[in-house]
């Protein structure tokens, strides 16, 4: 067997040192760039900023709850307001500005065109517009929310602020009657939604039009299948959120009476509208995460993904079924028992494609050659946390038990396992997996693994006890609680500190790698998807010559070469 470095042999050494990061210089060249990779990095900066903000408030929230009664602020009424503004900020920023866009906007933007062997997404200008919508909507949104926290904490009124204390769900009639700044906040979320729609549109067009020679639909990498399902939901569901939020604004400013019972409206109608978007939105968060895990588990097991078509089809099944289950958020609202029964039954059908994926990932590991590198550790963490999140969903789908645990910490724990356990861990897996490709630098593997372990331990410490607290009846969104729940809150708060420490380690590792990391080879992990067949970091046009795709999981075509600390293609 002969070994040859075949990835991009036609590039001259001088051309190799030129890449998308150093092709042009200056802030202006970044702010008006049409390069999907640079837009991905712009998103990375903005979204990680939002994650930092949401994370700081997560830790503050948990600190407020370390003991019953007011903790950070002594005056009770102000402390409750402070808490309500904080949990709204944490939930809204994390949902609208981190979990929903993180994987598609950062990693999807960066990787999707390269995986397609394309120069860029189908509509590069639209891509830049969606970034600016995100940035503009985000600044607006954060300003409103943050000013509310500052006002309730320090009594300082900021210009254009007013805060939001409705929770990220904006339930009527609380949201139409509260004195906080619902309308500006809703407009911020509205703008963020447009960013999401445009990204989805761009991705779908790209996958339809730009697939390279040899890439049939069933030879598309699973990350792309996941992004396809995600984009479809974004395009179909996000307009519903937009309409709902506009109705809320109309209700609040004009008193049109859609949701106000005094005017003939129905407050529960808002919940139907809201969850008709927001339940599918959960799958906007999870599907791309599952896509990353499929890539990572296969590559670090050095084995073809098991049951490719089952995984691809289960992504589509999840996307479709995800639209039919919104009513399971309203089992206690007084909707008809028949509706409850139907929604319960449909909810269980979504669990099947999710279970299929978990078994496929495990089967992929069977007979493999497993390397526990940082991305793989996060992927295994994902499988564990997603399994716990998915299984505890059974308690919530089942009518009798949901009535008891609905709106308690059990739900808080469940959705943090599903949304954060899945999205955050997959995001971190993907970030570490593609980091060498994105920046051309290797991070410190030992620190990476240690951080993954600390984050995993911290996460479980934080949220595992919340299942117990919730099953014992601790309601969610409580600024204060009965003494008997103290122990659960204390363990949870300590867990949040551990997790925060782990995430700080991740940040240090990334920053350190940018400064001191050793140059990354083209293919450090031995993946067979097309992004590993160009330089690290890629040139602006991604490839010197449009590559031909084959089976994305034919990993046996790559051999480790110790001299370059990366993989090289085996000549056939």
């Amino acid at each position: 067997m002969t070994i040859a470095t075949t990835a991009s042999p036609e590039l001259e050494p001088a051309a190799r040192s030129r890449n998308y990061l150093n092709q042009t210089r200056g802030l202006r060249s970044w702010l008006i760039t049409l390069d999907h990779k640079r837009i991905g990095i712009l998103y990375m900066v903005a979204i990680l900023g939002a994650f930092f903000l949401g994370g700081v408030f997560a830790v503050l929230l948990r600190t407020e709850l370390i003991s019953p009664g007011p903790t950070l602020i002594k005056d009770p009424v102000r402390a409750w307001d402070f808490y309500n503004h904080m949990f709204t900020l944490h939930g809204a920023v994390m949902t609208f500005m981190f979990i929903i866009p993180a994987i598609p906007a950062i990693l999807g933007n960066f990787v999707l065109p390269i995986m397609l062997g394309a120069k860029d997404v189908a509509f590069p200008r639209l891509n830049l517009l969606s970034f600016y919508l995100y940035a503009f909507g985000g600044v607006f949104f954060v300003w409103v929310l943050l000013s509310g926290v500052i006002e309730s904490a320090f009594g300082i009124k900021l210009y254009g602020g007013g805060g939001l204390d409705t929770g990220w769900t904006f339930y009527t009639p609380y949201s139409t009657s509260t004195s906080s700044a619902v309308v500006p906040a809703v407009l911020g979320a509205f703008i963020l939604g447009f960013s999401s729609i445009l990204t989805g549109l761009n991705f779908i067009a790209s996958m339809h039009m730009l697939r390279p020679k040899g890439m049939t639909w069933f030879r598309m990498p699973l990350f792309l299948w996941a992004l396809y399902g995600t984009s479809a939901i974004q395009i179909l569901a996000t307009p519903v959120l937009a309409i709902t939020l506009l109705l809320l604004v109309a209700e609040r400013t004009l008193g049109v009476g859609i949701f106000d019972p005094a005017l003939g409206g129905d407050p529960v109608l808002f919940q139907h509208f809201f969850w008709f978007y927001s339940h599918p939105a959960v799958y906007i968060m999870i599907l791309p995460a599952m896509g990353i895990i499929s890539e990572v588990v296969s590559v670090f097991s050095r084995k073809h993904i098991f049951g490719y078509s089952f995984i691809a089809m289960s992504s589509i099944a999840i996307a479709l079924l995800g639209f039919l289950v919104w009513g399971h958020h309203m089992f206690t609202s007084g909707q008809s028992p028949v509706a409850n029964a139907i929604f319960s039954l449909l909810t269980f059908t979504v669990s099947i494609p999710s279970a299929i994926k978990v078994f496929n990932w495990l089967a992929t590991m069977h007979g493999g050659s497993i390397q526990l590198k940082t991305p793989m550790l996060y992927a295994i963490g994902f499988i564990m946390l997603f399994s716990i999140g998915g299984l505890t969903g059974l308690f919530l789908g089942s009518l009798a038990t949901d009535i008891h645990v609905h709106d308690t910490y059990f739900v808080v724990a469940h959705f943090h396992y599903v949304m954060m356990g899945s999205t955050l861990f997959a995001f971190l897996a993907g970030m570490h997996y593609w980091w060498p490709k994105i920046f051309g630098k290797m991070y410190n593997e030992y620190l990476g693994r240690l951080a993954a372990l600390v984050v995993f331990v911290g996460f479980n410490l934080t949220f595992m006890v919340q299942f117990i607290a919730g099953a014992h009846g601790m309601p969610r969104r409580y600024a204060n609680y009965l003494d008997e729940f103290t122990i659960y809150h204390q363990i949870s708060t300590i867990g949040s500190y551990v997790m925060a420490a782990g995430l700080v380690m991740v940040a240090i590792n990334w920053l350190d790698s940018l400064v001191r990391g050793r140059p990354a080879p083209e293919n450090p992990w031995g993946g067979n998807t097309l992004e590993w067949q160009t330089t690290s970091p890629p040139p602006t046009e991604n490839f010197a010559r449009t590559p031909t795709a084959d089976d994305p999981y034919a990993l046996h075509k790559w051999r480790y070469d110790a001299s370059i600390e990366g993989y090289v293609k085996v000549a056939e």
Binding site: W80, Y171, I352, A355, L362, S369, L394, A400, G473, L482
Partner: protein
């Protein structure tokens, strides 16, 4: 101590209602499924990570699918979740098929408290019920959506403005249990706490009789203060002079008020009584006509008590010399009455 502490398990609080057992059974069934599945996943993962760890020279398998195996792990979970749905559905059906002859209590939720109204008109801050008798709660809300949650009964239902939601249960154990608001409702959401007190059925009627007459047994101003907090006045009318949906009660008695139609009125006993009975007839300038009538909802002794309470909030009004000290019930001598519930002490921190 509260009932929960005695017989609760690691996962669930004590069960004190008739279908609590059914819910718990489904809970532990699902729990069993979860444990089996989780153990399977963890064991397989750990086993594979160990057994198939990277070793130089060992070629990974090229197996990429196995349709019978994949169909198996699609069909088996489908059957399992089918069972879970069925058990959960049966338990839920029981919650929705109440027996005849229910004891009905009307519940009004407001920011931030509960008013439980009994068939004889008595309104209580806490929920008192007889043991072994099916009880129906008819829930409504004065403002936003609240949710009545009794963990020990495994029951929860939203109180939605403009709608009557119903829930029923049968308490099986005497004692005191927590009652929470589970739907986020603003600033004091976490303070919207009440107690459920399950009485011996033979003593329940006696309790209700006693409780219904509480206002007559207190000095009127104190009774008025309790009524002010129990009947939701506090929602709109402050007692410290700060703003609200309606005029503050502080320093209002004996003063002249400008009305919306330009005329003035002296705030005296007649004016207060009229404001309770016909709230729309004399609206103070600067306020909206939003107060509901209390005609038929307050007894005369309660109206008098409220008037006395409002009098007591006015600095200009000379209170008559205090009654002889011994006549005040001693439980009210130590603490301000507003911190009392009408049916027992709240233990909320």
């Amino acid at each position: 101590m509260l009932g929960q502490s005695s017989e609760s398990s690691f996962w669930l609080p004590v069960n004190a209602s008739s279908y609590g057992g059914e819910v718990d059974w489904v809970f532990y069934f699902i729990y069993g499924v979860c444990v089996v599945m989780m153990v399977l996943i963890v064991v397989l993962a750990v086993l594979f990570i160990w057994r198939y760890r990277h070793r130089p020279g060992v070629e990974p398998s090229r197996l990429s699918h196995n349709t019978p195996l994949e169909l198996t792990w699609t069909i088996i979970p489908t059957i399992v979740v089918g069972f879970i749905f069925y058990f959960g559905f049966v338990g839920f059906l029981n919650m929705n098929t109440p027996p005849r002859n229910l004891y009905e209590i009307n519940v009004t939720a407001f920011k931030w408290g509960w008013a439980f109204q009994y068939p004889n008109g008595h309104v209580d801050q806490n929920l008192h019920i007889p043991r072994d008798r099916p009880v129906r709660l008819i829930l409504s809300s004065q403002d936003v959506i609240h949710s009545l949650y009794i963990p020990a009964f495994r029951i929860k239902k939203d109180a939605v403005p403009g709608r009557y939601n119903k829930m029923w249960f049968k308490a099986t154990k005497e004692g005191e249990y927590h009652l929470f608001c589970a739907e986020y409702c603003g600033t004091k959401h976490s303070e919207m706490y009440a107690k459920v007190i399950v009485h011996d059925p033979t003593q329940f009627a006696a309790w209700l009789e006693e409780a219904a007459n509480w206002a007559a047994k207190l000095p009127p101003a104190e009774a008025g203060q309790k009524l002010y907090s129990v009947r939701g006045c506090a929602q709109c009318h402050t007692v410290d002079g700060s703003g609200g949906i309606g005029p503050s009660f502080k320093n209002i008695f004996g003063e002249s008020q400008k009305l919306r139609d330009g005329s003035s009125v002296l705030v005296d006993e007649d004016y207060i009584r009229n404001s309770l009975m016909n709230p729309g007839s004399q609206i103070v300038a600067g306020f909206e006509n939003v107060m509901p009538t209390y005609k038929g909802r307050l007894k005369d002794v309660e109206i008098t008590a409220l008037i006395e309470y409002i009098k007591s909030l006015s600095e200009h009004y000379e209170a008559p010399p205090a009654a002889v000290e011994e006549s005040a019930p001693e439980e009210n001598a130590t603490q301000p009455a507003a911190q009392h519930s009408t049916g027992g002490e709240n233990t909320k921190p």
